[in-house]
Symmetry: C2
Subunit: 425 residues, 2 copies
């Protein structure tokens, strides 16, 4: 029965019952964590050959000693692998260190200090960034760090609301960019439609140095079904807007987050501009890590095979969360959620005003969830409704416990809110 | 005989003879390079166990899975090793990626954007940086990238001219920093005296956010003799100026430049400020690389043992250069040079106006040297005199050829200059 049709008395009875359940949970002193998109040990184990396998040959196919200095944009082996995996021309790719987040931060810092394409530095403008919401908290933290104003863009089933995006970027020259996780978006698991990708490529922007931060973190992280993302590189090339794209990718959630290989790519001109700055910033990134990663996969097919195994492990976790939500709350009218086909998260929406309380109750019962509001710029979820569930890290047993606790806390928070509302009427 | 005492006729005869020698060299189509401080293969081979040795245990002493996300400031093992090696408190250290240059660049970028210690961002001031000269070209390139004005500070046998430094920093609040390679300086191989280090620690600076960029790149890179650098950390702690220090170090020239482990350290307050920004910039650096490096050395003693072997290899190279210079040009009065006790370079000073021509002649004869002027800000050596010789990379056979060619080119360039001067008199 839907909670909203229940009387105050019925709700109070239910609250009593849930309170007992909740207090029982508290006494078990649990310590569960589904706050971050951290791979489980079992997922990492699939890459342990990287730790075991020696590097027999450190000379690359181009005769470069990968132990020594040099090669600013990455060894050919790994560039070619990424190029083939993501269908981006080799010449548009630079391989970075172990973290695409670091590349994103540095890209923002570069734009802040130097601007792009000969325009004014972003630090000297009233720079605004479009942020599809809910989104990735670390992206928002970067924008906030640089003092760039963030503008919420609601997500639709096809990605960000493109009518809104087009209208805003056409009119306001201070809107300098949009930050996207285009496939299996964090946290909603939404896949940008072909039309969305095309409209992003061809839209008219008042800012001449407009950039699309294309954080394709989950490019091959399929779980239930394999979505294919339109190729923003070839589309933007067609429209002559390829320098607008700054594309990010890494193997952090493919091999080891602790030693991934990250990539940045952009159009023919802007990638050269980036390279000039890189040439001052470093002599070259970790080539042996690039080689180790290449030796483990050999080619794009090797990566895809590996991702199937990772996907299967993640599927078990997703199943636990989705089945439990179905069983526990589907008929209560207190939670909406997406069933994502891939990525790392399940994003849920409580009734307005119930997210913070749910997260708080969970924390007090020994379950850490991503903070309510974290999925919005400035930690401000205007509805106090979205919670990001990250099921990857706990074991299946722990996860079942965690999601059970989540359901109890959610019910309790919602019932209390409903009682309060009904009593005020 | 000293060239300057020779008549024009004598010089012209000598020039003819050298010309024949030079043209002969050209016909052999050599391709030699002593331009960069790149370790030789034989040096790298000493670390090949890092490539061969599997990681049997990826769990750190603190129970952290180094394959996964997390640990912003580095695994305890490597922090403790660096702490003990450099005598810097563990809590003041952050381990970075594979390049200390990258950490230096990022430190400048951070100061440009955010300032430090609550002061105005350096990008908003007319920031000036003191640059001991000759110095490291990549340091100067970073200052130039950010538009910071560089002020030349002459080097003495004890480090930068401290009278000049003290006077400048006391008067001008736009002088925000000084960039130092305090031990076996690049390129002169000068070791800062205890007095220099103490004066840097205690000097009064008009800029409240003054920083000393302490790039201790050759901290343990002894060749002929082991110099001990005064501990700027404990000295500045004594004077309450420890937040003034930003200390850099890496294993790039210890293990592999392609996969080193870099470090940044600073005073109690400023290191926390850096950490806050790091927490936005990345989730953590490559922990498996840290672990591999630790597993290879085990402790500071292990590093020191290893450095003895590296020093022996470098000594052979230094010997070749120094002996040849002694033999070929010592009595000619055309070149001054330092005999460094460690580091990576031999820095030579031609007669004024002869460096560029020497480098040009060498290049045309198949020998690449560091560009003349590279050791000065804006590539402007006011005397056109300094040339940095980097003997590490070539084999001993190649190096002997290279330094022979250098001597021929130097003599030729100097003789031509002297003839020109004498004929103008």
């Amino acid at each position: 029965m839907k909670y909203k049709y229940m009387s105050v008395e019925e709700l109070k009875k239910l609250e009593q019952r849930l309170n007992i359940e909740y207090e029982n949970i508290k006494t078990s002193n649990l310590s569960l964590d589904m706050s971050r998109g951290k791979p489980a040990s079992a997922q990492l184990d699939l890459s342990n050959d990287i730790l075991a396998k020696p590097i027999d040959n450190y000379i690359t196919s181009e005769g470069i000693d990968s132990r020594n200095y040099g090669i600013l944009d990455g060894i050919t082996e790994i560039k070619t692998l990424f190029s083939s995996l993501l269908d981006i021309p080799n010449k548009n790719i630079i391989i970075g260190g172990n973290s695409s987040l670091n590349l994103i931060y540095d890209a923002f810092a570069r734009l802040y200090i130097f601007g792009a394409d000969g325009s004014e530095p972003w630090g000297k403008c009233k720079t605004k960034i479009l942020c599809p919401v809910p989104g990735y908290d670390r992206h928002f933290a970067i924008c906030e760090e640089f003092g760039f104003e963030m503008i919420n863009i609601p997500m639709t089933d096809e990605g960000p609301d493109m009518d809104m995006v087009e209208n805003l970027v056409r009119e306001d020259e201070n809107i300098k960019g949009i930050i996207c996780v285009p496939l299996y978006s964090n946290p909603d698991g939404i896949c940008y439609s072909d039309s969305t990708v095309e409209r992003l490529s061809c839209m008219q922007t008042k800012a001449k140095d407009f950039k699309i931060f294309w954080d394709n973190a989950y490019a091959i992280h399929h779980v239930y079904k394999e979505h294919k993302l339109a190729n923003i590189f070839s589309l933007s090339k067609k429209y002559g807007t390829d320098d607008r794209i700054i594309y990010f990718f890494s193997t952090s959630k493919i091999t080891f987050p602790g030693s991934g290989v990250a990539m940045i790519a952009s159009g023919d001109n802007y990638i050269e501009e980036i390279k000039k700055h890189f040439g001052i910033q470093t002599i070259g990134h970790n080539k042996l890590n690039q080689l180790r990663t290449f030796n483990f996969f050999h080619n794009a097919e090797g990566v895809k095979e590996h991702m199937k195994k990772l996907g299967d492990l993640l599927k078990e976790k997703f199943d636990i969360v989705l089945n439990t939500l179905d069983k526990e709350v589907a008929d209560k009218g207190i939670l909406k959620w997406n069933k994502p086909d891939g990525g790392y998260f399940i994003s849920v929406f409580t009734l307005p005003g119930c997210a913070s309380e749910t997260v708080k109750l969970a924390r007090e019962a020994g379950l850490v969830l991503t903070g309510a509001g974290a999925t919005y710029p400035y930690h401000n979820d205007p509805e106090d409704s979205n919670i990001r569930l990250a099921p990857s890290y706990p074991t299946c047993g722990e996860l079942q416990k965690a999601i059970d606790i989540f359901c109890v806390c959610l019910k309790l928070a919602t019932i209390r809110k409903l009682i309060e509302q009904k009593e005020q009427q």
